[in-house]
Symmetry: C2
Subunit: 199 residues, 2 copies
């Protein structure tokens, strides 16, 4: 669609680069920006400018951090001896929100995906090896996504440490709570039946 307004067209193109935002949504967001208060839009723009300057990666775990080390790595109350391995920082925050896990994390920044040319050297694995030694890790909880690539990566990491007395685990798989059996996919159902638990 041609708006005859280059700045609006540019803004819509930027919105389209965001995940899950297509032409129609980008257009709606662009028009919403034009409808917003000047001060709001300025604040939005300044936050965008600052965010990449202020937020980098944690030198230890690869999570986002405002300094050298992220809040979780520097939190002394965290459980020692266990690391939860995730693909991306976003996954880490999902796990954090559950409040169930009290250890520290290690962010891979990707998964093994030979078709996309992503090999072990492209992931944050060297640092993982040294952390396991330095931090006296006894358990690796591998919380990669339940996809082919996630499972391959998880297996690869398990093998990296197979000669060490380290427990390697992953979150249980099964029927998600609050869901309806009718809407759960076949492979989840079949995995849940295979791994059935006593009540």
């Amino acid at each position: 669609m041609n708006y005859g307004l280059p700045p609006l067209q540019d803004l819509i193109e930027y919105f389209k680069k965001l995940p899950g935002v297509g032409e129609k949504t980008a257009r709606r967001l662009g028009f919403a920006i034009l409808d917003m208060d000047d001060r709001e839009v300025k604040g939005f723009a300044e936050t965008l400018l600052q965010i990449k300057e202020k937020i980098g990666f944690c030198n230890r775990c690869g999570n986002f951090a405002e300094g050298e080390i992220c809040g979780i790595c520097s939190d002394k109350s965290r459980l020692e001896g266990i690391l939860c391995i995730v693909e991306r920082p976003a996954d880490l925050y999902i796990l954090e929100a559950s409040g169930q896990y009290r250890g520290r994390y290690h962010v891979l920044h990707g998964v093994l995906s030979p078709l996309d040319g992503v090999g072990p050297d492209d992931l944050n694995l060297e640092k993982l090896k040294s952390r396991v030694d330095e931090e006296g890790i006894k358990e690796l909880l591998i919380a990669t996504n339940p996809s082919v690539e996630g499972d391959t990566t998880s297996l690869y990491i398990a093998r990296m440490f197979k000669d060490r007395s380290i427990r390697v685990t992953r979150p249980a798989r099964g029927i998600p709570l609050g869901s309806s059996l009718e809407f759960v996919d076949k492979s989840t159902i079949s995995k849940a039946l295979e791994k059935r638990e006593p009540i």
Copy 2:
């Protein structure tokens, strides 16, 4: 969710102000920004900063414009004597995209909505009156949304001009093309039956 990263939290709050963006989407967009190239994010922010400075409203029709007058109002090839009235500039671009309408527009910047305290004085109606006179308008095509507020506004405008020899029209209502009868709502079906056309 607490990320321990104030700039990320701020950015997520800004995304949440956009229409149709809830907590989850805002979080995904925030993380996507952190994953984007520095240059891209800078370009995005600069476009945001510029857009409110560069784009204002057309002095004549109320559409978005980079100067005093928008591209449509200054386009000499447009049909004279007809104005299409829309609620917002976004609606104008939807109508433009159809390529069916070749006249100019008039943007109300809202609809009558007594419950929200929006009366006739809050809409771009004075300017409409003077345009009708100055531009020798013979037809007003009122393309407000097919909602209670849109219809009320449309009726109000029709009455404003009832003593003048001006044709007041609106787009036809009925079953949308490419839809399936199964998914069309009852009131649309009933309107389409009432207004049935010979084949």
